[in-house]
Amino acid sequence: MWSRKSAMLGSLAVAMYLLGLTLRNSQLVTVAVVIFVFLTWAALVGNHADVASSGRRAEEWSGEEGVALGSVVAMRKLSSARMFEDGELSVTLRMQNTSSLPKILEVRDRVPEVMRIKEGANYILMELGPRRETYIEYTVECPLRGFYSLGPVTVRIQDAFGLFHKEKELHVYNDFLVFPKMEDLKETFVKSRVPKIFTGAVNIRQPGPGSEFYSLREYFEGDSFRAINWSAYARSGKLMVNERERDAVSDIVIIVDSRAVSETGPVSRNALVYSTRAAASLAKYFLGRRDSVGVIVYGDEVVSVDRDTGKKQLYVILTKLSGAVARGNIPLQVVVNRILPHINKGSPIIFLSNLEDDPTIVNALRDFRARDFDVTVLSPSSLEFEFDARRIDRTGYEVMKTERDVLIGELRGLGVNIMDWEPDMLLSTALAGARGF
């Protein structure tokens, strides 16, 4: 392939040649001929570049030499296929030259644009000897959640003057997953009001077998002597027993707004980023106390993870959250209508949204409240993100902030536990604020 430099030299030579013939100037023609010759020789020498190659995954590679369909083979290995945001990924690229001739190669391993090379280099200029192989190692930082692919590997061979080159993409791809990072939560203040069949570690604000104190009542026949509160008996002269709050497994439903508007703000600081991180943290917390957690992500479609418990469920939720992409504009009412028949009565619902651009939010949350669902709304404020990034002026900010405050006030009036989540606020603080602590 011609480089721009060779194309320019070639054009110059043609122009000089024609001008020389027109002007009958042998000097111009001579210069043109020398440039032609120079280019021709470079093309001849550079054309030995045989980059017919094949790429294969390192995992598929078997045997000592691998299956080489050409003279240059690339294989790649990742330190991990899954990590959390801000994690590091070590990449080992193995380049083989199966030819009997040495080659000077330019190798570039394509890394997703959001990633940054932390150590080493993904762009290498190397002299690879005959039947030799080499390992290239580098580390990338993964700042944002998502599904990513490394690859392809671009190999280029060119002549010494950079006039002609041959380029080949070795289609070696390695996929990996970056989960949203999580915050450790000590308490969420979210409890179910409705018991489930099997008791668990969560108090549901009803008396029953459990560990947390609920209230005192008079002793009735059949009550366990161990439940008698002797201090209360001493005070009142009546036999009083401790009632405990019933422990049960709760159904927690987390709804994440991933509409296009949720990505308003800088790429690393917007409602969707905060919502996915919050959802991951909450899921981890609730699953850790043996709750059953379901997640609904809506944007251009409603994607749900059915309620379940355990570590596997956390993995499934994290995978779903990693793939949440801001697009579409499904109203919350549609989501509520769809999921309402499938949620157990009284289950806590946590809704993560910037509450923008959806006129159905009030009605949708009213529907939840009308059925006595315990609704908590954490609303990362896109306004703050935009204002911090100096994308909106003070007046615009104030006007929109007022509108937002009115909406939040209205929702609070419905009995929704809501918190205007400011960018620098910890999730635990926002949750406590939402629950009135």
């Binding site: 320019m8 995992e59 000077i104 940054r116 200029l125 930082e141 599904f147 010494a160 996929d175 997953l177």
Partner: protein
């Protein structure tokens, strides 16, 4: 036995897998725990202008070069040497007669002054471009050198200053022009090489590029710097010797025709050169058409085995 796969492909069976959200494409860099946007988070997308695309890169280099290493310094010295020789040869083979300045002013003195100014300008900008490693000056120098040899002159090469008495020796004159042409293209290449290797050196030292066996890579470039001018000189000489080679071939069949050809004005003129070029490049084109480089490569590979 099927090897255990460590990839996550099974997670997205039937799903659309994408590298990232479109708006996220802009983000590079690390999002810190505080969530602040790093300064280098949004990479700038450089779209080269038409001129830049012709020149093979940005005319105004965005990269600030680190002080030159030994390799770049050697290249700079080579450019200085070639530049001086080129300036002298340009002055010798481009007399003011027939230049645009002569046609415009009609004065030999003024044209001479113009011509000299252009050559001096080309040399000075060439020095500056190489010393400062600024492609703009080098480009200006290249253009001025080309401008200096644009002459509306006759077929015959004439010298402005015949220090070595080449004017009466057509062979020596042809060699002089060929040497001039080779020096011109070597100047183009070397001045470009200063920029290229400065970029490479800076990239290596800032860890953007990793270079394995740099000595071998540099030695290949050095080898090419010697080999290519020699080959270019020989091949160009071959092309330009059509007025000698063609009669020699024809002489096999008819000595009279060969003699007439030798004395032919057309064959010794620029059209003879054009004829030689045509013949040689028909052969070269044929070789490329037959995919000779690939066959040559296969031969080399099989020989190495």
């Amino acid at each position: 036995m099927a090897m255990k796969s460590g990839d996550t492909a099974h997670l997205y069976d039937g799903k659309t897998v994408r590298s990232s959200a479109p708006s996220r494409k802009k983000l590079a860099g690390n999002a810190s725990a505080t969530g602040e946007i790093p300064k280098d988070a949004i990479p700038t997308v450089e779209i080269p202008s038409f001129i830049e695309s012709l020149l093979g890169g940005p005319l105004v280099p965005k990269m600030k070069f680190l002080p030159p290493d030994k390799m770049v310094q050697n290249l700079q010295f080579a450019v200085y040497g070639v530049l001086v020789a080129l300036a002298l040869l340009t002055f010798m083979i481009s007399p003011p007669e027939g230049t645009i300045w002569y046609i415009m002013t009609g004065s030999l003195g003024v044209a001479n002054l113009f011509q000299l100014s252009i050559i001096v300008g080309a040399t000075v900008t060439g020095f500056m471009g190489t010393y400062k490693r600024d492609a703009r000056f080098s480009l200006a120098s290249n253009i001025l050198f080309i401008l200096a040899i644009l002459r509306f002159a006759s077929s015959k090469t004439s010298l402005s200053n015949d220090l070595f008495g080449f004017q009466d020796n057509p062979g020596a004159l042809a060699i002089l022009v060929v040497v001039y042409s080779v020096l011109l293209i070597m100047y183009f290449e070397l001045s470009n090489g200063v920029i290229r290797y400065s970029m490479l050196d800076t990239s290596i030292r800032t860890n953007e590029v990793y270079v394995m066996n740099p000595k071998k890579i540099v030695s290949k470039y050095h080898r090419s710097l010697v080999m290519n001018p020699i080959v270019a000189t020989l091949l160009a000489w071959f092309v330009l010797s059509a007025n000698m080679i063609l009669p020699a071939i024809v002489r096999i069949f008819s000595s009279d025709t060969a003699t007439r050809m030798e004395e032919s004005v057309e064959l010794t003129s620029v059209y003879g050169v054009a004829l030689g070029t045509l013949f040689v490049f028909i052969v070269v084109g044929g070789l490329f058409g037959l995919n000779l480089p690939t066959h040559l490569q296969r031969y080399r590979e099989s020989k190495a085995e």
